[in-house]
Amino acid sequence: MTRAATPKLGAYAGLAALGLLGALATRRPELVVLAAPFALSAALGLLLARRPQLDATVELAVDRALEGDELELRVQLQADAGAERVEVLLELPRELVVEDGYNPVLLRLRDGERRDLLFRVRCTRWGGFRVGRIYVRASDAFGLFRHETVLDRRVPLKVYPAEESVRNLLRPLETQVFSGNHVARQKGEGIEFADLRPFVPGDRIRRVNWRASARRGELWVNEHHAERNADVVILLDSFAEVRRGDRTTLDPALRAAASLAARYLRQKDRVGFVAFGGFLNWLLPSTGTSQLYRIVDAMLDTQIVLSYAWKDIDTVPRRTLPPQALVLALTPLLDERSQAALLDLRGRGFDLVVIEISPLSFLSTPEGELAELGHRLWRLRREAVRGRFERAGIPVAVWGDESSLAAALEEVSTYRRQARAVHA
């Protein structure tokens, strides 16, 4: 611990000296009386001064939490040599707010004493954090010396984005070969009726459609659609964001990405993740709970990195975007590079859906005629971008403050149903 004398030491010594010298000069004992407490206090404080020996450990009740969760954080202080006043400050990132417990707190620690400080912390925003840097400042009873140290006892904490409510997921146009929950166009084992065909040796008796067989005078069997899984790739546009205070367009995008990944993985689909922006991050499609954790961990590393380098979809590894995958793009439609990449993906035949994270609620109301005009032009340009996507056959759903993710997905489903009907 570093030690420093407080201003009080110099002040008391000075006042004592002044009083005693004044008493000598004026020959008045009253000034000795005035000087005595300062002299005694300084002398006793100096005699009894010693260096405290403090240590601390930090324990988190959980190392993973969801946005909005409250968790318990315990700081255990151990004093081999205590101090009269120990000030403890636990450094916390802005995203973690102390709901219960005092931070900083000032307490007394006797020699050999152990003390537990309990903090109830609320996670206000997603992210990967390391919590547990403790600033300790101790002082003696006379307050003449200050001892300071920083104890780095950080432990990792991952705060995952909260789940958005999603009622119906988007059905991919194409399915893969493994069994899953999507009704495939191919015929095979399943429960969804597809067609009738004449009986051939090897068919199971339970597949015989007796009513059709009786009508046609020969054995006919039911055919079913196979139930297959699908490949879903969540593409997160991390080129640009709009920020207002602590809120950014990346927050709803990540919440949506996490919710969609969890839901698709729950129905046995293979899910991949691409953070496409100044900083490229990707995960190959896979299944299972471990993939969900991998995806969410990869999301926590996602950040908006300012970059002027032109990047196209070729920079994404080929295996990350398997053919016939449903690509769900979450984008604020702010950067031309991501727009070009999405059009490129569509051009390559990917089943692409764009969920636009509306930045409008993050903007302040334009003031003045010129600002209003600029705002209107900017909105018109965004409309034009959406029009380009729709002409290319890419459904775009706008998700803002006034609507839910479920509504945006429903909008896309309707678009895809109608588009298919027109093609038919």
Binding site: L18, L31, L107
Partner: protein, 148 residues
Amino acid sequence: MAAGDRLPAVVAAVGTAGCALTALALPGRWPSLLPAGLAGVGGGYGVLVGLHSGVANGAAPAVAAALFAAAELGFWSLERGAARYERPALVRRLLGIAGGAVATALVGSLVLAAASGVSGGVGLEAVGVAAAALTLAAIAFLASRSSV
């Protein structure tokens, strides 16, 4: 104007200057100004008793206790940090200040009693000078030994 007539004005001026410095030091958080303010207040009292020749002022222990308590509270308010005190630590600190004030009054009374029982002389003054010098030397020595 006689010296006795000017006395209240001088005492008031020195005391007011001390109070003003203290008042500036506390909200402005200037620790170096606080001792000057305290010295001013003590100096005002010193002028008062210095111009009154004769017996020692009986209020000195109470004044010393008040000045010490004011100094402790003043430095407490100047301490940085927004830490919340745990109740036992807060009670101990308040009791410490109160105890210090009481001890100051007691020691002051003893000093006054000892001073009133002796008559002046070169020998006694020499002892006083030596005691003051020793006290200051002890503080200086301890401070140098305890310095960072």
